[in-house]
Subunit: 225 residues, 2 copies
């Protein structure tokens, strides 16, 4: 594969995917896209910039869609200052299925913009680091979701874009393991939803990240410094 667009949040999964696409899938020209949509952990965008630079991508764009914060006011703890990021341990089973940090339809918004961008550049392949989350989940990170979305995109009469999600069936530690083999520098990735100076250690994504490092008997470089 010569060229591809890649959604790069700056988190563990998409940073690993960036290096995986380059080194394992031999995509020679990666156009990375990141979005500033009002996420509390916009620190992740600095990490996205660092990873993109490190990987010498063909292009990295950080697209400002901050209007989403206002459009979806009150609907997500990831965007709204008045809503608290929950601790994973406080989530009910129902909440783990669609936690307060869920942003309504976010992934379709980001993927539709990325697919439009790919199409406009004549690029047919789009990478997105959905994964089988271990402790909580989102409907727009599943394999059935990806298939249904690709079905829509396949209807395009000229240049259909195909979304690839090579990590979709994997648990986080398995992704981390791949990344370690590839030499990904996880000190320059960000996961914590709170987005403060240091990871909180208790939000859903912190707990999941910590357990992935634990499973591999490693220390998260973000914590070990």
């Amino acid at each position: 594969m010569e060229r591809a667009v890649l959604l790069l949040s700056g988190g563990l999964d998409s940073s690993t995917l960036l290096h995986y696409a380059q080194k394992r899938l031999l995509v020679s020209s990666i156009h990375a896209l990141s979005f500033n949509y009002g996420q509390k952990h916009s620190r992740e965008l600095d990490m996205a910039r660092w990873q993109a630079k490190k990987a010498r991508v063909a292009e990295h764009r950080v697209v400002d869609i901050l209007f989403m914060k206002e459009l979806l006011a009150g609907a997500s703890a990831l965007l709204d200052e008045s809503l608290e990021i929950p601790k994973l341990s406080d989530l009910s089973d129902a909440d783990r299925n669609q936690p307060p940090t869920y942003v309504p339809n976010r992934n379709m918004i980001l993927l539709s913009l990325a697919a439009a961008y790919a199409e406009s550049r004549g690029i047919q392949d789009l990478f997105y680091a959905a994964q089988a989350q271990d402790e909580y989940g989102y409907w727009d990170c599943t394999s059935v979701y990806l298939q249904a979305l690709n079905r829509v995109l396949s209807l395009n009469r000229r240049k259909p874009v195909l979304v690839h999600s090579p990590f979709i069936g994997m648990r986080k530690f398995a992704i981390l393991k791949i990344g370690m083999e590839l030499g990904v520098d996880y000190a320059h990735t960000w996961s914590c939803y709170r987005g403060e100076a240091v990871p909180c250690g208790t939000c859903p994504t912190c707990v999941e990240r910590a357990s992935a490092f634990e499973r591999l008997d490693m220390t998260d470089p973000l914590l070990g410094r």
Copy 2:
């Protein structure tokens, strides 16, 4: 149906749909959404404002997504100043299937934002005025597209949004006929892609609009003044 979100461009189809949803489908509270995405015919947004006010919608938002113009630079004659809006008569058969005025993946972008907005407000129904265009067409205005998109949205675990497109099988004159019965004021709708002071009369949407009025033995009030 009590509440619904409606994509209102200010063109003939969506303006008719607004009044149709209110008067025929008895939606009591309509939340209209319009998008400024860099379309040359942004005059349509003034018409959207006029129609929304006239219909006394519960809310009308014009969302600024002008970043799309830059993100998709060079990819659509509808956005790019350096690309000419074609005359319908100059389009080849292949071009009529996906004309230069096509904006890559535009409808998925707009629908995903509208669905996110609906979901964030606890609204389950979303209206979108796709129609069976007579002279040219877009893949993201077809019935199979709508079904595939609804399949994706149906996977949402809590509040799936359903997209309705009551005009999807209709030709433009049939929509116009409904609108005339409903008393829609077509002097306050805008179709021409060129977006100049008066409709050009030769671009695809002008030709289609004109033939709809002709078919009903009427004069377009935009031209007859």
